[in-house]
Point group: C2
Chain length 288, copies 2
């Protein structure tokens, strides 16, 4: 069973919410911070509380490494400990690293993020340099079921700059990226009908949602952009296959939910927000 199969099962049993542990130190409630600990140690405590509170209602977790790199070695210890705690809980974890480099270097990244201190179940990758920057991760898909999510059509405004450009053959740049990766994924199919090569498809700009979902039927989507970035449940539902086939990330929406729920503890607020989001998406799916 591949990690993509496990992710499918996780979404089936706990829903499509992916909690983004993109934890900035400033997100921690002041009275939660223990001044005798480092920023990274406090972040791990916060992440643990979020994990414990939300693990029954989140399909998986995503850890954005940038927030940890920002704190140097202290942050990367927190990154290691955060990945380890999610994996120990038996829940799929995506390392949101968006790496992309020549094959020799990609081998090093694959080793760094699929083995050792920073081992994750999935990594996100950037496609700009081409397929030889993706293929070094595939031996890990083959031998240990690891999965990839490659950037295709992202949720940010800047997606218009290059991804949306029209090619001479009429496709968008992102279509070409998606088509090539889906083709590559055919050799890495799991039991649940999805390949080990997923795509990152932003939950915003959803005018082409149905077309994309139909075109990439056996591809699992990592869908950022819900909430803070403007993506709505009715749009996101169209990227899912009857509520599965994708996982919908929310980071600040969950971690900072306590700022919108007066008098509620941050972890309880995070739970409430996951439940609300899960129901919001399930409702939207039921209307399709």
């Amino acid at each position: 069973m591949t990690n993509m199969d496990k992710l499918y099962q996780a979404v089936e049993s706990r829903g499509p919410v992916c909690v983004g542990l993109d934890t900035d130190f400033s997100y921690l409630p002041a009275d939660f911070v223990k001044p005798e600990l480092t920023a990274g140690e406090n972040i791990v405590r916060f992440n643990r509380a979020i994990l414990e509170a939300t693990k029954e209602v989140a399909g998986c977790y995503k850890v954005q490494v940038a927030y940890y790199e920002a704190l140097g070695l202290d942050g990367l210890r927190a990154y290691r400990d955060t990945l380890a705690m999610v994996r120990q809980a038996g829940i799929p974890v995506i390392a949101d690293i968006k790496r992309g480099d020549i094959a020799k270097t990609a081998e090093m990244y694959a080793k760094g993020h699929f083995e050792g201190d920073f081992e994750a179940d999935f990594v996100t990758l950037a496609p700009y340099m081409g397929l030889d920057s993706i293929s070094p991760y595939l031996p890990y898909a083959q031998k240990s079921g690891k999965g990839l999510f490659v950037l295709c059509r992202t949720s940010n405004g800047g997606a218009k700059d290059f991804e949306y450009e029209k090619l001479a053959d009429g496709r968008h740049v992102y279509d070409l990226v998606g088509d090539k990766l889906v083709e590559l994924g055919r050799d890495y199919m799991g039991e649940k009908g999805y390949s080990s090569i997923g795509l990152v498809i932003g939950g915003t700009h959803t005018e082409e949602a149905e077309e994309i979902r139909a075109r990439y039927g056996s591809t699992f989507f990592l869908i950022p952009g819900y909430g803070a970035q403007g993506g709505k449940a009715e749009d996101i539902a169209r990227y899912l296959n009857k509520g599965n086939g994708g996982t919908v990330n929310s980071s600040r929406g969950v971690l900072l939910a306590y700022k919108k729920q007066e008098g509620v503890a941050f972890d309880e607020a995070a739970y409430n927000e996951c439940v609300r989001m899960k129901e919001d998406i399930a409702h939207a799916c039921s209307l399709l």
Copy 2:
């Protein structure tokens, strides 16, 4: 004075060779390794010896973070220490991180790699997600002269997959990327005629070298692909402006030079290779 100005001066005084400290533990001669030290600690010793041996004949250094991430926290300590030793020597250092993410996340990467444990003079970035994934680094260009090298046309075979695709308007994808970044760079010009936004232009596939150099006259190039990847000095010379305006990376070619120079110590062999490469490029420039 910007870091790009300092890099220009470094190339003027010591030549265009950029030594890539992309140090895999397996590169270290067996009799150099101290078994009581960690892999990362041994790599730092190796890098220090390379730096000491080559610093009079190298314009700058590039550190590929993937080789350090591959070793987890031990590797990232070595990464921190390697960056610090090059900066302490007063030599420009490029963090080859190829990050690319939404603005909020890019702010975190900028903080992580332009401040604190992993502070470097330059970072490499990936453009796929658009200009809002680049702009968060620019406040550092403004306030402390930091520089960027953004992937444009890379040296690997996979460059053909997306970068070389033709757009509806006849340009390659890489032309569009280059054009937009050069435009953005106009607001970040240094004293030496180059902006703080450089481009990564591979030293292979050089049929368009003169056109690219002419088109991006005020853009400094980071040029990978010399040697191991097949780039020749006569091609690379065309990407330079009379021997400046670019820095030419060699990693394995320098670090593993000792394997081709029988009976010569690894650091002396690295020095010899830098001198050979520097003369090879200077000769090619003199023939243009």
